[in-house]
């Protein structure tokens, strides 16, 4: 089907080119232009080209404004974060300012060739410079750009300032070709990690000599509370990845060997967004935007924004990673095992049973 469309399109284009040719050639034969081109400085083509500029100007702007207006909701994603609102405002201010420049310069650029096309009796104006004019159009763009930069810089400073102390911390780790997220658990402290400790189960290299990692949990979905600051601590396991959540206007590279971070405050829960978009299937999605290999295009991870109470409930329900992988108790220094069992929530077993399990796992 598509092949046919392309085929027809190509054929049409060739046909048009051929027709244009024939018309040009015939016109020139009729006018006797083709022989004595040297006598005339320009042919009728000069006029055609001049008119083409006007045609392209009107059609081009027509198409531009029509598409920008009618498809607005398709290309502008709804915003779901506090800084996203600031982002939108400078984006649209910049669009307005540059849009005006774009339209004005193009009107001049296409109108001048049309208006001042070659005429035999005309002579161009010898006008090599005008210092005042040049200073003006150096300074005015400089001022306009400064305003844009300063407003951008304010937003940038807001976004990149230190995360509030009460921010919910979530660790996001990119690897070929998926994401993993780790929560600090009840103690609200993410445990240490070391890439040398990574194995088939311990995918994030959690270091169980650190007490803080005992209650860390690794869920299948990323939950965050609405209206509270959230801090993403981002790292990568193998190659570069980049955390991108378009609805939050959030992006930060994941770099092996150099943890990065990004904090923000979500403003709309998943449920609210579903209602707003009238789409019961809607989910916030996390995508990778730094080319990372074969599966780069498939690194999708779902983010769920909960109401704070729901979030607290969900958070409390999560079982620690250690409680689901008890064999790793063996890697914990003996004197810490008891603490580990308590904070990991492994309480219903007797000490003896654990000891046996630990022995068995050796």
């Amino acid at each position: 089907m598509f092949e046919i469309i392309i085929g027809i399109g190509a054929l049409l284009v060739l046909l048009i080119i051929y027709m244009i040719f024939r018309v040009f050639t015939l016109m020139n034969v009729v006018k006797g232009n083709d022989k004595n081109q040297d006598d005339e400085r320009v042919s009728v083509n000069n006029k055609i080209n001049a008119w083409m500029f006007m045609a392209v100007l009107f059609l081009g702007f027509g198409l531009f404004f029509w598409y920008s207006y009618t498809r607005f909701d398709e290309y502008v994603l709804p915003v779901a974060s506090v800084h996203g609102i600031e982002y939108e405002s400078i984006f649209w201010i910049t669009t307005a300012v540059t849009g005006i420049v774009f339209v004005l310069t193009h009107i001049l650029l296409f109108y001048f060739p049309f208006r001042y096309r070659f005429k035999n009796d005309a002579k161009a104006l010898f006008y090599p410079d005008n210092t005042k004019l040049e200073i003006a159009w150096t300074i005015i763009p400089a001022i306009v750009l400064s305003i844009l930069v300063f407003s951008g810089w304010r937003v940038w400073s807001d976004i990149t300032e230190k995360a509030p102390d009460n921010a919910e911390v979530v660790e996001i780790v990119g690897y070929q070709f998926a994401w993993a997220v780790r929560y600090p658990g009840q103690d609200k402290q993410l445990g240490d990690f070391d890439f040398r400790l990574i194995d088939a189960e311990n995918q994030l290299g959690m270091d169980f000599t650190d007490k803080a990692s005992f209650d860390d949990f690794i869920p299948q979905e990323l939950h965050i509370p609405k209206g509270q600051p959230v801090l993403f601590k981002i790292r990568a396991r193998d190659v570069l990845h980049s955390v991108f959540v378009p609805h939050f206007r959030l992006k930060m590279d994941a770099v092996p060997g150099m943890p990065t971070r990004f904090w923000f405050t979500p403003t709309k829960s998943t449920a609210e967004m579903r209602a707003e978009l009238n789409d019961p299937e809607f989910n916030y999605e996390l995508a990778c935007t730094e080319v990372c290999g074969r599966g780069h295009f498939s690194m999708r991870f779902i983010i769920v924004v909960d109401e704070p109470e729901e979030y607290a409930k969900w958070y409390a329900e999560q079982a620690s990673w250690l409680s689901q992988n008890e064999e790793y108790l063996a890697k914990i220094p003996v004197e810490l095992r008891e603490v580990a069992m308590i904070s990991a929530g492994i309480e219903d077993k007797t000490k003896k049973e654990i000891k046996e399990e630990v022995k068995a796992s050796f």
């Binding site: 920008s68 982002y87 400089a142 295009f297």
Partner: protein, 628 residues
């Protein structure tokens, strides 16, 4: 034209006492004339033909991945004879080969077409002709420059045919992806070949660059002061300076990557667990590579852009029959861009984990560079204003260049703003931006240059009519291809995605992607009009007049097919700037640079009348020189 010839003869007569011996005509054989030539004109043409070859290949690669993006369901079994195992069993493109296509398209277009094809062609061809030199400062180094480029081309081309495929990490080849073969097959032999080819390419660029710089500084003809240089030469000169300062940094970056890949060092590698094992490398930083790469990578944008702007300045002035508006401001802008291009590189790294404070600094510096760019646009507009405009195909492409330069430049203001860049970074918005401001603008400059200087290169005229059709199809085509990508980018679609079906957020715009692909095919197809015109006119075109565009610059004072040494007899002396078009009082609407003010009392400005006496002194010195 008549004026030119008269003047030209005048000068031979004037400097009759010339003792320069030009009887030693070279009798080149085929090899020294066409292959291992040291003549700058032939080397320029070699660059042009090689560049055209690469452009077709680079364009064709983009069509294959555009098929995947526009028509993801399409059966591509028919490509199997060419692509072999890169077509999967279900008849679509292999996702890794898709990345290879994107990578090679970028590498080829940026380096082999728009750097070598543009700078290589026109710097070589035009510098000696426009400054009045017999050849480059070193013809031999110039030849070496081309042949290093050729060697680099052969290696890069061969990487397309190896079993594990060419480099696949994007044209920026960020490590660790590009350093680890287990991460992606293209990072094996393909990446090695990429690095070797780029190393030779850099050597070629440096050899070319020192030659351009030396030639412009040392070999200008009598009277050709820097303030009388055509803007083309200013642009080529500054481009070479940028290249000379920036390319060695890429070289060092590539060298460290070679060490990491082959000798177990850890410049860019640290804390990596891949394919079931933790690598021993610690202490390196992938960010270091990004700094080194973009220290070249950003100036590279201006390396491909400045020559195009230079060419355009010359062509717009000539065909508007007006002096370029604000000659000094144009030079100032070029200088400003040259200097600032070195201090903006980290705007490619706003979300790389860079210190936010550095991000602020680079945002300020980046938006400063928009000012000289804006000045250039306004000066072009002022040049067109009240001109007497002749639409040659070269002129159309030049106006087209200004248009895409504005469109693409404006989106640079979004991306240079670190706050806005957070959302737009690595989306199709960036793709749209640089394809317009760097890709299309430079390509239009290249095309304008070919159409404008073809009569000088080959002594024949290209067909204007074909040129017009080519221009309008290309101009409308690039807008239809690249403008829609802005919308897709604002919607957040990431670059280098094989398919968008995995994400709900990126499931839209299938119609627009289809439209872009079809437009890309038509635009690419239109280039064959140019190819036909180019090769046909080379042999069958109308014999060109000596100065077909009634231009002021020196190259049009050479014979129709200039031989070795460019000018038979003495090199003409230059008396005035290259932009005396439509000067009040003058009968013709142009006065070539070789016409002394003494001969044009009717059109001299007051301060130029004073120069008449100095001209006499100058010429007296010439005579003295010849007698001694």
């Amino acid at each position: 034209m008549a004026t030119t010839e008269v003047q030209f003869e005048d000068h031979i007569a004037h400097h009759g006492a010339d003792d320069h011996d030009h009887d030693h005509e070279h009798h080149d054989n085929f090899i020294t004339k066409y292959i291992f030539s040291t003549d700058h004109k032939m080397i320029g043409k070699q660059y042009l033909i090689t560049g055209i070859f690469w452009a077709i290949l680079g364009g064709a690669l983009s069509l294959i991945f555009r098929l995947q993006l526009g028509f993801p369901e399409m059966q591509l079994e028919w490509l199997r004879p060419i692509l072999g195992k890169w077509i999967t069993e279900t008849g679509s493109i292999d996702p890794e080969f898709y990345l290879a296509l994107v990578t090679m398209h970028g590498t080829i277009m940026v380096f082999f077409v728009l750097t070598a094809g543009l700078s290589g062609t026109f710097s070589n061809y035009l510098i000696p002709l426009q400054i009045g030199a017999r050849d480059m400062a070193s013809g031999f180094i110039n030849m070496l420059s081309y042949w290093f480029f050729f060697l680099s081309s052969v290696i890069m081309l061969s990487s397309l045919f190896i079993e594990t495929g060419p480099a696949m990490g994007g044209w920026t080849v960020y490590p660790p992806l590009s350093a680890l073969e287990v991460a992606i097959p293209g990072s094996g032999l393909g990446m090695t070949l990429w690095l070797v080819a780029m190393s030779f390419f850099i050597i070629s660029t440096l050899l070319g660059g020192i030659n351009y710089i030396t030639t412009v500084i040392n070999l200008r003809t009598r009277g050709m002061s820097f303030s009388k240089l055509p803007l083309t030469i200013w642009a080529f000169f500054l481009t070479a300076v940028i290249g000379l300062l920036a390319f060695p940094v890429l070289f060092s970056g590539a060298l460290l990557l070679i060490f990491d890949r082959s000798f177990g060092t850890s410049f860019y590698l640290s804390d990596i667990y891949i394919a079931g094992e933790a690598l021993p490398n610690v202490g390196g930083s992938p960010i270091l590579y990004q700094h080194l790469f973009w220290f070249l990578g950003h100036p590279e944008v201006y390396i491909v852009l400045l020559p195009a702007l230079g060419i355009t300045s010359e062509i717009i002035a000539t065909n508007s029959r007006k002096p370029i508006f604000g000659y000094r401001a144009m030079i100032g802008s070029l200088l400003g861009i040259t200097i600032l291009s070195f201090v903006v590189w980290a705007h490619h790294m706003f979300v790389s984990g860079l210190n936010p404070f550095l991000g602020s600094i680079f945002m300020f510096l980046t938006l400063i560079i928009a000012v000289p760019s804006a000045v250039k646009v306004f000066n072009y507009l002022a040049t067109l204003w009240r001109g007497n405009i002749i639409f040659t195909p070269a002129m159309l492409f030049s106006i087209g260049l200004v248009s895409v330069f504005i469109s693409g430049g404006i989106t640079g203001i979004f991306l240079g703003n670190s706050a806005i860049d957070i959302q737009l970074h690595d989306t199709y918005f960036v793709v749209a931006h640089f394809h317009l401001v760097m890709g299309s603008a430079s390509f239009f400059g290249l095309m304008a240059g070919v159409y404008h200087w073809f009569p000088k290169m080959f002594g024949r005229m290209m067909s204007n009519r074909l040129g017009y059709v080519h221009f309008w199809l290309t101009f409308i085509g690039v807008y239809l291809v690249f403008f829609p990508l802005h919308y897709i980018g604002i919607a957040g679609f990431p670059r280098r995605y094989y398919s968008f079906t995995n994400f709900d957020a990126f499931s839209g715009f299938t119609d627009l992607n289809m439209f872009v692909t079809v437009s890309a095919f038509i635009t690419f197809g239109a280039q064959f009009l140019f190819l036909f015109n180019f090769f046909y006119s080379m042999y069958k075109g109308r014999i060109a007049p000596l100065n077909p565009w009634r231009s002021n610059t020196l190259e049009w004072t050479t014979p129709l097919n200039p031989g070795h040494g460019n000018w038979p007899g003495v090199i003409p002396t230059v008396y005035r700037w290259p932009y005396d078009y439509s000067k009040p009082g003058s009968e013709e609407d142009f006065i070539p640079q070789t016409v002394p003010y003494a001969l044009t009392p009717e059109s001299n400005l007051p301060h130029e009348d004073e120069l008449v006496d100095r001209e006499k002194e100058q010429d007296a010195i010439v005579v003295d020189d010849n007698q001694s």
